[in-house]
């Protein structure tokens, strides 16, 4: 008897300015797929149909359309940037299929045809600031790549800072791929912010961190322990490119490789067995893995890959694994996830300095977010303790 095979589209750029993230996410999806195909408890197999837009925004919609049209595909896992997701969504809607989007993003979207397994603002910038502001101060410098992720995350940051009687000492954007960071570094040197929020992606981010590292070597007032660079999107996938310039800086993520849980230890062991002992695992890898895993469990339960049945199943129960307890919210299609705060340590890893006590419900429109609660916490002087 031949088992049924379901095709799964995987759409990541493995070249171009955010290739490191795309490659990591692709590996995560492919590993989940391989695990399912080797697991007898799944009475079907999955076949990967991989598309690579090579970081070129114009190629996302046509490739997604070709995959969905020609291969009888109903599920697409992919996209790193919001820009590319917005390109793919109309195609997905037209064909009545489902997009599994595994990345942190700026929120203010809740599409019926998308399952969001990455963090939205109440799961990234809010917990990041709740940690950073009381410890380092409320006067920040904001940098970002010149597109929606940087603009919107920095806009939220600006409002949070103002509410905590803080200030924005600078707000600068670089075109995606640009490494022209000198002017920004010079301004930071002059303005001495308490911390820098880094929403740059890819080579821009690496160049910025390298130049900031040099600034710290020239003037110890800019060492990370004093004025850290904090980010919602720097992960293990890029630590090799960043090198020692990253050490001491902070990131928020819904997964770090260094999570010390039984489920994560098992996950890492399996990953290294497949991909080599030196393999690093990032939140992009883990969320992409999670997306395929959830899809497979839903297909097993529903007996079909019909999008509505799959969606009904994944939004009706919680799943436990390397990312802890996760649950896709029926109302918003976003996932309850546990935010962690990591400090980059030597050897390309994060040392976890804080974790939410449990999964945080997604709030993509910040409907239930109470900014007064955050400002009260930040401005209460007895909490100003250096960790």
């Amino acid at each position: 008897m031949t088992t049924r095979t379901y095709p799964v589209g995987i759409l990541y750029s493995t070249s171009g300015p955010y290739a490191a993230l795309g490659s990591d996410a692709l590996d995560g999806a492919l590993m989940a797929l391989a695990e399912i195909n080797e697991d007898d408890s799944f009475p079907f197999s999955l076949r990967a149909e991989v598309g690579d837009p090579e970081g070129s925004i114009e190629r996302y919609a046509p490739i997604a359309d070709t995959l969905l049209r020609s291969r009888d595909l109903r599920h697409l896992v992919g996209c790193i940037t919001s820009w590319s997701r917005k390109e793919v969504i109309p195609v997905i809607e037209k064909r009545g299929s489902l997009l599994w989007y595994p990345c942190p993003y700026e929120g203010f979207e809740a599409n019926d045809h998308v399952i969001y397994t990455g963090a939205c603002p109440n799961q990234h910038i809010v917990p990041l600031f709740a940690h950073v502001l009381p410890r380092y101060g409320v006067n920040a410098y904001l940098v970002g790549s010149n597109y929606i992720w940087g603009w919107e995350t920095n806009r939220i940051a600006r409002e949070l800072l103002a509410d905590c009687n803080g200030s924005v000492l600078g707000d600068r954007y670089l075109p995606i791929g640009s490494v022209d960071v000198e002017r920004i570094i010079e301004e930071i040197r002059q303005k001495k912010p308490d911390f820098v929020l880094n929403n740059l992606i890819g080579p821009s981010s690496y160049a910025f961190l390298a130049a900031y590292h040099q600034l710290g070597l020239d003037d110890p007032d800019f060492l990370p322990a004093r004025r850290p660079v904090v980010s919602c999107n720097v992960t293990e996938a890029e630590l090799d490119m960043i090198g020692e310039a990253g050490i001491g800086h902070l990131s928020t993520a819904i997964y770090f490789e260094s999570l010390d849980t039984a489920a994560n230890r098992a996950f890492l062991a399996r990953t290294r067995q497949r991909l080599g002992q030196a393999r690093r695992v990032s939140s992009f890898f883990a969320s992409s893995w999670l997306s395929v895993r959830l899809l497979a469990e839903a297909i097993r339960e529903a007996g079909s890959d019909e999008p509505e049945a799959v969606q009904a199943f994944v939004t009706s129960r919680s799943f436990s694994g390397p990312l802890g307890e996760v649950q896709v919210d029926r109302r918003t299609n976003h996932t309850a996830l546990t935010p962690h705060l990591g400090r980059i340590a030597a050897g390309g890893r994060f040392e976890i300095v804080e974790s939410a006590p449990s999964a945080v419900s997604p709030d993509p429109y910040l409907v239930d977010f109470n900014p007064a609660e955050l400002s009260a916490r930040v401005m209460r002087p007895n909490l100003r303790v250096i960790s």
């Binding site: 203010f108 809740a110 599409n111 019926d112 910040l366 007064a372 400002s375 009260a376």
Partner: protein
């Protein structure tokens, strides 16, 4: 809005109420789902609004099947922001929706998005429109009362034997000390002079 966070201006529609004036339809359902995600409690109503419905924070209305008399107020006089739901883009229907005073619109068919931006635009436009209308009414009234100011100036110039500039200065002083607008001060001045003249007239007639 949560209190004590004056700078957090990200729009939050939590605990708002919305009326979806649309016959039962997948579009109305899709819109209600969007509203639920924004923390808004929505209610589908058709065909007519009651005066109580005007207590809602916002009304989404069907521009395709809508007709005059559905709203408990004159066209264009809605006390809350209106958002048109447009399927047909024929000029007649768009015109009708605008006549109701729509501050924003959403195209049908309705899917997963659009409500948040339409709400942001409608609320801001409605408030700006309101402020502008108030300002225009104020300016119109001042314009209409310019003849009274001119009359008051003539009265002051003749009774106190002063020139126009001094009379204007004088009228401003009177208004300021009475904490009145110049127009109100002019009305009061005219009334008091006329009153005195009336009395003088009646005395002379007696």
């Amino acid at each position: 809005m949560p209190g004590n966070a004056p700078h957090f201006r990200t729009p939050n529609f939590r605990s708002w109420t919305a009326i979806v004036l649309h016959r039962p339809h997948a579009d109305a359902d899709a819109l209600l789902r969007q509203l639920e995600r924004l923390g808004i409690s929505g209610r589908q109503v058709w065909p007519e609004l009651t005066p109580e419905d005007a207590a809602a924070s916002v009304i989404f209305f069907d521009a395709d099947m809508g007709y005059d008399g559905q709203f408990p107020w004159e066209p264009g006089a809605a006390p809350i922001p209106l958002i048109a739901l447009l399927g047909s883009e024929t000029p007649g229907r768009v015109e009708w929706a605008m006549r109701q005073g729509a501050s924003a619109h959403l195209r049908k068919p309705l899917g997963s998005g659009g409500a948040f931006s339409a709400l942001m635009i409608a609320v801001r436009t409605f408030a700006a429109q309101r402020a502008l209308e108030g300002e225009v009414a104020e300016l119109r009234s001042r314009l209409a009362r310019r003849s009274a100011v001119a009359r008051a100036l003539v009265l002051l110039m003749t009774s106190e034997k002063i020139d126009e500039a001094t009379a204007l200065q004088r009228l401003r002083e009177i208004a300021m000390s009475a904490r009145q607008s110049v127009e109100d001060a002019a009305d009061a001045l005219i009334a008091s002079k006329t009153d005195r003249n009336d009395k003088d007239d009646s005395r002379s007639r007696a």
